[in-house]
């Protein structure tokens, strides 16, 4: 399983891949931090996303989205929402 992280401007129209429920999706995308969320841990001016699953599928999705790949060590610390399996990777 591959893990990828992205950042985007808060007004960017990041679109979720549409998978039907009960199907095994090729990857799972999760919003990890929204800078406009008044209760967020950090307000960096960017939104952060994480994805886990098949790297090629994640890359294909990201290519069509207004997101920039970032390494894990460039996520805000602490990140607002960091569920499993990210925190176990």
């Amino acid at each position: 399983m591959d893990f990828c992280f992205f950042k985007a401007l808060p007004d960017a129209n990041v679109q979720w891949p549409i998978f039907l429920p009960e199907q095994d999706p090729p990857f799972t995308l999760i919003a990890l931090e929204r800078t406009k969320d008044p209760d967020a841990n950090n307000h960096t001016g960017f939104d952060y996303f994480g994805a886990y699953g098949t790297g090629a599928d994640i890359d294909a999705w990201a290519a069509g989205q207004p997101v920039t790949a970032v390494p894990k060590n460039q996520l805000p610390n602490p990140i607002t929402f960091y569920p499993a399996p990210f925190n176990e990777a």
């Binding site: 979720w16 799972t28 406009k36």
Partner: protein
Amino acid sequence: MTTISPLLRVKERIVGPSGIYNIQNEWYGYADEFKYTIGLAGLMGFGVGCCPPELLPADMALLPGTEDRFSPNYGTYIHLPSASIQCFVPAHFMDVQSPGNTNAPFFGSKIVISDTQSGDAVLPKAFKNNGGDLLGVFIDKYQGSNCRPDGSGTPNHTNGPGGTPLTGGIFASRPLQWPVSATTKDSGGTDFNSPFSLCNSTALNGAATTPANDLGGAWALSKTRGVDFAPIPIWVRSQLAFLSLAHAQALLDTNGVPIAGATTNAAWMDLAPYAPKGNNNNGADINKTSLAFARTDLTGANASGFAGRNSRAFTGAARISGLAAVEHTTHNGQLSGIVDIQGNQFDTAPGLTAVGTGAGDFRLFPASGDWTATSSNTSITGAAGVISLAAETAPGDDDGVWFAAAGASNFLVAHSGGTFHPSSSFSNATRQAMTETLLPRQLGTSGTQTGTNIFGGDRFFSARVNNLLPLVGGIWLGAANSGVFGVFLDFTATSTRSDAGARAVRLLSA
């Protein structure tokens, strides 16, 4: 001799915040009777209200604060035999207007809620049943779970991590419990789901039967609580969605920005989209990432933080920084509202079905029928006076069912003529039926999602299937697709879904 003067009662005028941009949002009457109304959009207490005590069913009781508009328990009642918590939504009139533009704060769909009728306002289908009008509807505050049939409201599970759901339960609306789903438990030694079928006690209703583990099982499931309960119909769910939208519009200024103090009366006004948030992002809200749902059950037994499978949360689990934040998930943005109204699990919302896959095959249960007496989709299609929705006369005519039989994703958007058919067009029964069952106009949808518009990018999954049973609200991985206006039409009464739960209603005749 002592002379006793009668108490002087003076009528008062209460004005809601939407008055600042000239929509009718005020109430005039005796102040002590205001609590029996739906309230005023934008104010504390809007969206729920009190049941007149002389009409309260004998087996229901008030909670501390039920009649205090500023209490978390405002408009909240307990069904004593099952310990179910329900919210009372008083009958009201609604005018869905299309202001002719998509400007803030209405974005093409102006929702006017009032205690009195005026203009094109109608008494929504949610408040009509069995040929008469309703005083209001008791609605489950929480998605139902499998509870012991002893009135304790405790989970009908074994002890241990998460507990193993047991047979012999009743369907009850309780906080921090594992909501039931329309599927089996799963084999292999792991209890992924709490199935409908284990709510099979006849303790509260001798005529109750074992629910099937499919969407159609929602009827039998509701009856385990009592003969007066029925699954929440789609027209009651639609009314909750319109109440949310009216509340948001009353708290926005003409630039679409929340007015000062808006979050006091609707917690979800703190972050766009200005609509209820929920567990739609695998344990958090997609927009409000600080709103997290992983939480142990009432006994602290479930170490995973989730209820069985995947990221399904316990009922009313929302927290921010470890503190309860349930008001972000309610239809009115207040603690008094109906919880987890989007995300987590679909609500099974019958009432609209289909007898085939044609555009003219949709059928809606009529207001002349008794919803509480229904037991399946057959009760709908066989009802005297069943409403047949018309197919659109020709593409673009905007007068009927416009979508294809094959499943397709559509996302709600603003339109100058309204995202939904306005009340002024309700002389056409199909248009009224579409609005009251959350079927948008074709022009009110787009193939491209905008997750932060007034509808939060809610998804209308169109399809035409025989024996339809709609699902509404969304699920734990639905992202922006989930929302109070989210509707899926691609499932049937025999569909098995591990992500679909249920709520019950109790209708109160006027």
